[in-house]
């Protein structure tokens, strides 16, 4: 599902990633961890072409992402469910509209969109707030809306950047369980986190970013 060869990323002459090689098969659940500034978010952003690598190759779902043209990007991004650290919700749209909005890009009719969105929101315990605007939600609720939006079109690849950062322990555990279910149904999940409690709660392949490279690649706890 994901293949990275010799990936390097520089910011203002500071090297964030150095020659990263990585392969993630379809259906895997992978944790990506490391200290702040290790390059977790940068690596994820390059997987959905929000950033270009300085050098190296990035392949996602059979497409070489780093050479895609602007017109080819939407097709790639529609295959990927992205959960952003800063939620990236549309401020002028309600919770339900934020979730259904993305289904328009997949050509799903409004009625079916509403049905699917309601189902996901219900699963995340947000169905009673479907008419609320994002600004009236707590950080945790906004995070769950962002998660619902990423899951609603059942993508084959989910990239989650610190998805539990704003959730309490119970909700974090519930989210992890949800992602496990989705992974169990065949989706590939890559979850970036620095939350060791989360890592220890579920034995899974873990990549530890260290000094710009992958310092550890294996099951966690080791």
């Amino acid at each position: 599902m994901i293949r990275i060869r010799g990936l390097t990323k520089d910011y203002d002459r500071r090297q964030i990633l150095r020659g990263v090689d990585l392969s993630i098969d379809a259906g895997e659940m992978v944790f990506l961890t490391g200290p702040s500034g290790a390059g977790k978010t940068t690596l994820l952003r390059m997987l959905y072409a929000a950033e270009q690598p300085t050098s190296g190759e990035v392949w996602v779902a059979g497409s070489r992402v780093d050479t895609l043209s602007r017109s080819e990007l939407p097709a790639l991004r529609r295959k990927v469910g992205i959960i952003f650290q800063d939620f990236k919700l549309l401020r002028r749209k309600t919770v339900l509209e934020n979730v259904t909005f993305v289904l328009r890009f997949h050509g799903i009719p409004p009625r079916e969109s509403h049905r699917r969105a309601y189902k996901v929101l219900k699963r995340l315990g947000l169905h009673h707030r479907q008419s609320a605007l994002p600004e009236s939600l707590s950080g945790g609720e906004q995070q769950r809306v962002a998660i619902a939006r990423a899951l609603v079109y059942q993508p084959r690849l989910i990239l989650a950047d610190e998805p539990t950062g704003n959730l309490d322990a119970d909700l974090a555990s519930e989210l992890l369980s949800l992602l496990c279910d989705i992974n169990y149904q065949g989706a590939t999940v890559v979850l970036a986190t620095h939350d060791h409690t989360l890592l220890e709660s579920l034995p899974a392949r873990t990549l530890v970013l260290h000094r710009g490279g992958i310092g550890y690649d294996g099951m966690w706890p080791p």
Partner: protein, 279 residues
């Protein structure tokens, strides 16, 4: 796709509130003025053609110049001034003209015969003053009046029409600039949402569609306002100038078509370019 563009475009318009009609007015004003200007320019068209009319200047040649000499001199002038049309006035014809203007010469002319008259040539040209250059020719005795009132009036009208066209162009350019700034500000206001939509897999058409709808609606309104206000203002002006005897027609159809194209097409084109460059 179209439904998305219409729904989101409508939301953009609704969020703006009164800004959309104000913007439509702001677009309509320069385009209406351009329409009025172009209509007035149309009225000038008959006056402009005055400048293209040919004037006739008479040239009296030296009496010692015989018919062959006159023919030779005329051939030289035709070669050096291809824009001139030269016609020899035969002595008999000249005698008739003179007698008509000065009856007391009739007797002398009868007695002496028309051969005593100096040879005369008429020069037909659009630049009558240019004939004055012949005054230094030894063959030329005198040059008649080089009246160019028509030409001057035509020239002034042409220049005025050019100024009117320039003013109309500047007004339309202002309208386009307004449309481009408007889209630019909208893009700036919605930059975050556009970025999110793209990250969610929205195509360029999906991103741009709502903005184009949000431009097209006030632009259509501006087109209607421009056409109506131009017809009203030009009708009023036509009544004012009617006593002067000018051709005070209404607004030419071409001007109305131009206004619709300018009000709808140009802001949309500006929006497409702005979206292409900055979205």
């Amino acid at each position: 796709m179209m439904r998305h563009a219409l729904a989101e475009g409508w939301l953009l318009l609704r969020n703006r509130g009164l800004i959309s009609p104000v913007l439509a007015m702001a677009l309509a004003i320069p385009i209406s003025l351009a329409g009025v200007t172009l209509s007035v320019r149309q009225w000038l068209a008959p006056v402009i053609t005055l400048g293209d009319r040919e004037n006739v200047v008479t040239v009296l040649l030296h009496p010692r110049l015989d018919k062959a000499g006159r023919q030779g001199w005329m051939s030289d002038q035709v070669q050096s001034h291809p824009e001139w049309e030269l016609m020899a006035v035969e002595p008999e014809e000249l005698a008739v003209r003179l007698a008509a203007w000065f009856p007391y010469l009739e007797e002398v002319l009868e007695r002496e015969g028309p051969e005593m008259l100096p040879p005369m040539v008429e020069v037909r040209t659009r630049e009558p003053e240019s004939v004055l250059e012949l005054k230094d020719h030894v063959e030329v005795l005198a040059i008649g009046p080089t009246s160019s009132v028509n030409r001057v009036v035509g020239k002034v009208a042409r220049r005025f029409a050019f100024v009117l066209i320039s003013v109309a162009g500047a007004l339309v350019a202002g309208a386009v600039l307004l449309g481009a700034i408007w889209v630019h500000l909208e893009l700036h206001r919605n930059a975050e949402e556009i970025a999110i939509m793209r990250l969610m897999g929205a195509t360029e058409a999906t991103v741009r569609g709502p903005f184009l709808v949000a431009v097209a609606v006030p632009a259509l309104l501006a087109a209607v306002l421009s056409v109506v206000s131009t017809v009203v203002v030009v009708g009023w002006m036509a009544q004012l100038v009617a006593p002067l005897g000018l051709v005070a027609a209404g607004v030419p159809l071409a001007v109305l078509v131009f206004q619709v194209v300018a009000a709808v097409g140009l802001p949309l084109a500006a929006a497409v370019v702005t979206l292409e460059r900055y979205a």
